[in-house]
């Protein structure tokens, strides 16, 4: 096994990997930009190396500086996390070329799966169903119009090299096509240094369900079941769960989709942890969308339900070990739900809300797992994605996991910036959600059919008293220690004031 590993990432996933390394008694090396000198990852890692200014193009996306940092610290391998360089084939190649193990699939697998268009061709050839659409990247508006007319609106524009909804646009009317194409392409260019965009048919009210696969370098390949990720906003996942409610009703679907995922992974000669994303329509037909060739943001729900440690498995695979696990060893116990806590303002169209995290109280206790990248006083930079933490709750059943999540959200307090915490409180209490009637349009529907939480005057009074008290605190000091009788003393004054 490796003695030292560099983590080429930041935020909660860097912390997750550092924790995994420590549990394997492997030394960890963090990298940091100017914005992250005081980050939790830097605080927790055994070593930390500066890699440049805040913009990721000058730091976390700089292959040369990451490799220099690995050489300078004698790291034997690099864990890329997700995003940044994690799906960059050239980076994977550069690592191998400089004798550093890339903790991921082969550069070749990444190339064959990295572009969605190529991936869909591969999937179709391997016998996995795909969404009707066109697999060649489109450049000019004229071609786009022709294709869109062919498959019919609504259509979806997607960055060929993309992920996480970046460079993605839904287009309902032909007149919007050109502008959307321009935006998507430039966003894709900016995010992935690849402006290629393609067009596909939009499946109506689909579920987004993905299959976690795991393969070693000796050709052993298994799947760890599904994650339902239908709750999305701007094509960004917000809530993920395992099992999927639809699989609870139709267990055989897990095996059918698992088999399809293994076909794709097998055809790509895949090893490491990877994820095949599918759309599932209301008749439970499923269509392969793409394969993410790295650890998935939402991997904790799979870990909670299967009892496996994906980061450790990644490291064992990268070190050349054989999978000890066979498909029949994989079991699913209970139900897990993950909420992605973002620095954004639900009351202002989910605008990003970077800034100083003045107060923080994190939930804990039975069944609660928090993967957080922040701490009280941390200044959330505006340079990176707004994910602060992932709250993943496990319980024996889906209803219990929902109530546990609500309990944990109630304990969770973040002050100083806006977050979507309260929004999760509303979503998870929703009867449609509890019924498991999920689809990728769920959140937009939810926002249109529900109103923000109301409140009683009693609650307002309490809030007002606290605010007034806080404002005048210096003068009307609150005693640090309770005075026993004060509890009864004030009674009289009540009369006085009436």
């Amino acid at each position: 096994m490796f003695r030292k590993v560099l983590v080429a990432n930041r935020g909660e996933i860097a912390v997750r990997v550092i924790r995994g390394l420590r549990e394997m008694e492997i030394a960890s090396v963090a990298v940091y930009s100017d914005a992250d000198r005081g980050s939790l990852a830097v605080r927790m890692a055994d070593e930390a190396v500066y890699v440049g200014p805040a913009p990721s193009t000058e730091s976390y996306l700089r292959v040369d500086r990451i490799l220099d940092a690995a050489r300078a610290t004698n790291a034997e391998a690099i864990h890329p996390g997700y995003g940044f360089l994690s799906e960059n084939a050239d980076f994977a190649q550069a690592c191998e070329d400089s004798g550093i193990t890339f903790i991921g699939p082969s550069a070749d697998s990444i190339r064959r799966l990295g572009s969605k268009t190529a991936a869909r061709q591969l999937a179709r050839a391997a016998g996995a169903p795909i969404v009707p659409g066109v697999e060649e990247a489109v450049s000019d508006g004229a071609e786009a119009r022709r294709i869109a007319r062919e498959i019919g609106f609504p259509v979806l524009l997607k960055a060929a090299a993309g992920g996480g909804g970046k460079g993605m646009r839904r287009v309902d009317r032909e007149e919007d096509l050109e502008g959307a194409l321009r935006d998507a392409s430039s966003e894709a260019e900016r995010s992935f240094k690849n402006g290629e965009v393609y067009i596909e048919k939009l499946v109506v009210r689909p579920r987004h369900i993905e299959i976690q696969v795991l393969g070693d370098r000796h050709g052993n390949l298994i799947h760890l079941g599904e994650r339902e990720c239908s709750l999305q906003r701007r094509h960004q996942k917000v809530v993920e769960e395992c099992p999927s409610p639809v699989m609870l009703a139709y267990p055989e679907l897990r095996h059918a989709m698992g088999a399809a995922a293994l076909k794709v992974a097998g055809a790509a000669g895949y090893y490491n942890a990877g994820t095949c994303e599918f759309l599932v329509d209301e008749d439970r037909n499923f269509y392969f969308l793409e394969m993410n060739t790295r650890l998935q943001v939402e991997h904790p729900v799979t870990e909670l339900v299967t009892g496996l440690d994906l980061v450790r498995l990644q490291l064992e695979i990268a070190a050349g070990q054989r999978l000890a696990l066979r498909q029949e060893d994989v079991t699913w116990r209970g139900s897990a739900i993950e909420c992605r806590i973002y620095a954004e303002d639900p009351d202002r169209n989910f605008m990003p809300s970077p800034g100083k995290l003045v107060q923080l109280r994190e939930p804990s206790g039975p069944g609660v797992r928090l993967d957080s990248g922040v701490y009280p006083g941390w200044v959330v930079p505006m340079d990176y994605d707004p994910l602060l933490a992932k709250l993943a709750c496990w319980a024996e059943s889906r209803p219990a996991a929902i109530r546990r999540s609500l309990r944990a959200i109630g304990e969770y307090a973040i002050g100083g910036i806006h977050t979507n915490l309260e929004f999760f409180g509303r979503i998870l209490a929703d009867s449609e959600f509890e019924a498991g009637r999920l689809h990728t349009g769920f959140i937009d529907d939810f926002l249109s059919r529900t109103a923000p939480l109301g409140h009683s005057d009693d609650l307002l009074d309490v809030a007002a008293i606290a605010a007034a008290f806080h404002a005048t605190q210096e003068r009307a000091a609150v005693p640090a220690v309770a005075s026993t009788d004060s509890r009864w003393r004030a009674a009289g004054m009540l009369e006085l004031l009436r």
Partner: protein
């Protein structure tokens, strides 16, 4: 102690007396007043444990934002003597200011000063946390001031474009 408390459109007058950590308060709104007694304990900086009868509330206060029971209130506390000062508001003339919704970077400016724009036409694209947001014209008009330059960073609330 007496303070004026503004929340949303409402204005409450708060009068209270303190004994130990017992607080007796009268909240009056438009003449009608309700008396209430609570126990207030500051448990952490800006965090208060409030007991009203047996009911337990945890209330977090950071500047104007008050969080409790999964809700957030934006509350202004005003010393009666200074109350008048805070009455200011934006006088609405024909002008329309388009402000940055968040701190971030201006990635693209889609109009020029003096240009006339349609309602809903894109004006400026701001990016923060890898999220692009296109500021659209809320109404048709003419760009009389353009404070946005591509590549420049902006703060939340900064005026980017003024329409007339």
């Amino acid at each position: 102690m007496k303070r004026i408390v503004r929340y949303g459109g409402r204005e409450l007058t708060l009068e209270w007396a303190v004994a130990g950590e017992q607080v007796v308060a009268v909240v009056s709104e438009e003449g009608a007043g309700r008396a209430t007694e609570v126990s207030v304990r500051q448990v952490e900086p800006g965090v208060y444990s409030i007991l009203r009868g047996a009911r337990s509330y945890e209330v977090r206060v950071i500047e104007r934002v008050v969080q409790t029971a999964g809700r957030a209130f934006e509350i202004d506390v005003i010393d009666p003597r200074a109350a008048s000062a805070r009455r200011a508001g934006f006088g609405k003339d024909g002008r329309q200011e388009i402000t940055a919704p968040m701190p971030g970077k201006i990635v693209r400016v889609l109009v020029e000063e003096g240009a006339t724009v349609e309602e809903g036409q894109g004006l400026v694209v701001v990016e923060a946390m890898k999220m692009q947001n296109e500021m659209k014209a809320p109404k048709a008009g003419r760009v009389i001031a353009l404070a946005a330059r591509a590549g420049a960073s902006c703060t939340a609330g900064q005026v980017l474009v003024t329409l007339e």
